[in-house]
């Protein structure tokens, strides 16, 4: 285990091509053993976790660790069971490797297959939560990707106990190259990982916005993730008011710390007088602080809404670019769906935005022009999530514009290769005078390999 991070990365890269070719049965067998060994080593793992928690408690007392970080560090009994059943569930997911994505006959006896394959080596850099290790390792194993983990020092003992248990399990299945999985432990290793674009094909950071942003800003390796979630709900003049109230409330309060909770409410001026006082009352009843622009303040003051019943502030320009992650909401009146779209594309983080409307033209306009990974029509922003989308498992939520966008499941860990199968064909025969013509006929034929 005393290899340098460079040695680990090189060994992961070499192992990755072999892991890419392991059969579904073997991978599922390894997942079953992983689940068993986790269960078997439960006490050992929880003991390691208790060690981390002791340290963490000291830090908490000294004000060096937040309660939420502490909570995420803690492996409760329920969390442990979820962790194990998570590994079991991955075995049930369809194997994404080796699928024939398209087949084109170029000419007689010359067929081009596009075959799904793993990306290669994934670097997972995460804070606090040790349950990331089994979750990501099982997804990477099933998708045939080698993985280098780097967890936070605050979870050092937990991460090591989990990692060693899982690699020990994999060792019992000799067809799986165990060099495909590595744990990096020192802080210096992170900086080195960010530079290893020759070995690491994709980075997945898990942690605070600042943490993800730091990773994105300091590497040339593609990063799957998002550093902020500034989500909006727009209430159109045609909105069903009761429906809009339900959705706007849920989008804010169901779990305000989540990236897919809304931070700004945009209300069409034609419906504001009727909608906003009712909505403000609902928010006030649920302890949501409101940051109002001049017009929405005027609307509320003119209404029967009791301004003293709520915590109310004036919104400043900064509010439109703020992710509160808390029971705070900025509110702005807009003249039209176009102004709402313009505001969202300018201030949003291209994550998730909601329209409340009964007018199909405005809905189409909004869904077409809002440049976000997720557009919700008359439904809560909180649905924007891998589990709720039915992906089985979530690798992350991406606000990138390439590869994968929105909630990302195992498909985000896949790429493809082209395999051209011929019988001696040369390009010279397809060029110049008397050139043979390409057929370019799509078929449903699958690529077959022995086995």
């Amino acid at each position: 285990m005393n290899h340098t991070i460079e040695e680990k990365a090189y060994s992961a890269k070499r192992a990755s091509v072999h892991l890419a070719n392991v059969s579904t049965d073997i991978k599922n067998k390894a997942l079953a053993v992983m689940a068993q060994e986790l269960q078997k080593n439960k006490e050992l793992i929880l003991e390691a976790n208790r060690k981390d928690l002791e340290e963490a408690e000291k830090m908490k007392k000294e004000g060096k660790m937040s309660s939420s970080l502490y909570d995420r560090l803690k492996l409760s009994d329920a969390k442990f069971n979820d962790m194990v059943s998570g590994v079991v569930d991955v075995a049930k997911l369809e194997d994404p490797v080796g699928k024939t994505l398209s087949t084109v006959v170029l000419d007689e006896g010359l067929t081009l297959y596009q075959i799904s394959c793993p990306i290669g080596v994934i670097g997972v850099i995460f804070e606090a939560r040790p349950d990331v290790v089994p979750q990501v390792m099982s997804l990477c194993l099933k998708s045939g990707n080698a993985t280098i983990f780097k967890g936070g020092s605050e979870a050092k003992n937990s991460n090591r106990a989990l990692f060693e248990t899982l690699v020990g399990a994999i060792s019992k299945v000799p067809e799986i190259p165990k060099e495909a999985f590595h744990l990096a432990e020192s802080r210096e290793d992170v900086a080195k990982m960010l530079e290893m674009d020759n070995y690491i094909d994709l980075l997945i950071p898990r942690g605070s916005n600042d943490f993800v942003k730091y990773i994105q800003d300091n590497t040339r390796i593609p990063v799957l993730g998002h550093s902020s979630g500034i989500c909006h709900a727009y209430v159109d003049e045609s909105a069903d008011i009761e429906l809009a109230k339900k959705v706007c409330l849920d989008s804010k309060i169901q779990y305000p710390a989540a990236c897919n909770a809304i931070e700004t409410l945009l209300v069409n001026e034609k419906i504001a007088g009727e909608f906003l006082p009712q909505m403000a009352k609902l928010y006030a009843d649920n302890n949501v602080e409101l940051r109002l622009d001049g017009e929405s303040e005027a609307v509320l003051k003119k209404s029967k809404f009791d301004m003293s019943s709520a915590c109310i502030q004036k919104a400043t320009e900064k509010d439109w670019d703020s992710e509160y992650n808390d029971l705070i909401l900025s509110v702005k009146i807009v003249k039209s769906v176009d102004e709402a779209i313009e505001h969202i594309n300018k201030h949003g983080s291209h994550h998730t935005d909601v329209i409340l409307s009964q007018n199909q033209k405005n809905i189409d306009q909004f869904a077409g022009l809002v440049d976000s990974g997720n557009v919700m029509i008359n439904a809560s922003s909180r649905f924007s999530d891998g589990f709720r989308y039915g992906k089985g498992a979530e690798v992350g939520i991406s606000t990138n514009k390439i590869h994968s966008r929105g909630p990302v499941g195992m498909e985000g860990l896949m790429i493809y290769k082209y395999i051209l199968s011929g019988s001696g064909q040369v390009v010279a025969n397809y060029t110049g005078v008397g050139a043979k013509k390409y057929v370019h006929k799509r078929t449903d034929e699958k690529y077959c390999r022995l086995q």
Copy 2:
């Protein structure tokens, strides 16, 4: 036209969301007008090209420009016609925008659609070849992507004449936002473009390896391209010798300057005595210089091959990492398909590699473990090309491991968004005690918008 590059990029970003929503008919209409206007302005464009050529001739005489660069700069009559028909052909390609990629019913009245959409703003940075402008502009227009072009100063007049003709054409179709297309002209603009990851979503560099490498090394924007093509052919012990000779010859000599020509021939030791002398004779007859490792030299010396008939050098370690782009080939004897795979994954550029074999097990091993975008089985490496693969048009060849790989057509300019269509659903009802269950049923239903 005197906007700064920042203004151009911001205006492209704003226009991109509108371009993303233009209908297929309108886009095809614009493409037709673009082709007409090119034809109409032919003399003007060729005149501008002649101006560039005059300058270029001086540079050529002073040794500051290569003949090949000069040739790429020159718009011949044939090249001009190809350029125009290229634009017409793009109109015939299927519109990749707005396709329903998947549909999942989350619950009654709550349906999730995954819809293809353009990436946004593409930055195209290219050397010399002015025909890139209409080619890329038509592909970007059809795929709904805004584009910023930056051509080389040596083609300044040609690029401007082409660009102004095309934007003039687009102006005749008012539904197309003409602010979606911009031309950058100064060298400083390139450096600025590389930093604009807030506006530019994808960079496509076209030019020499060094040029592409420079772009890749100096931006955090994703780059679609490849900076080198070190391709291999491996001749297995089971190869059909006549077939292997044909394919290995074509892979080297059909167009040696191409990125998909082979640079290294790997020969299994069990077939080398029979195959290599015949192959060496063929290469010698076609003026290919051979750089031999010790074992292949020994094999040839022991055979009837006339060593003086060919240009022969000893290979050094450096040769295995060299892209000659010329009639030069390095040759190495390997003990097994595994040694060949190991060599290719270590020294290759993950572009295109060939196996000549009649043994299905070895073919599967090679196709599975070679970590390249294209694996050719008993067919020439030169087939690795967008046109030959039937893509209609090639945006570039990618050796990336994410988004798109191998020859990339318009699909490489696409991403998707999720649209969740509901009727007031909130997440609160799907959590906790008495939670509603998700259905997660896949259907073939397409997303519909008014129009």
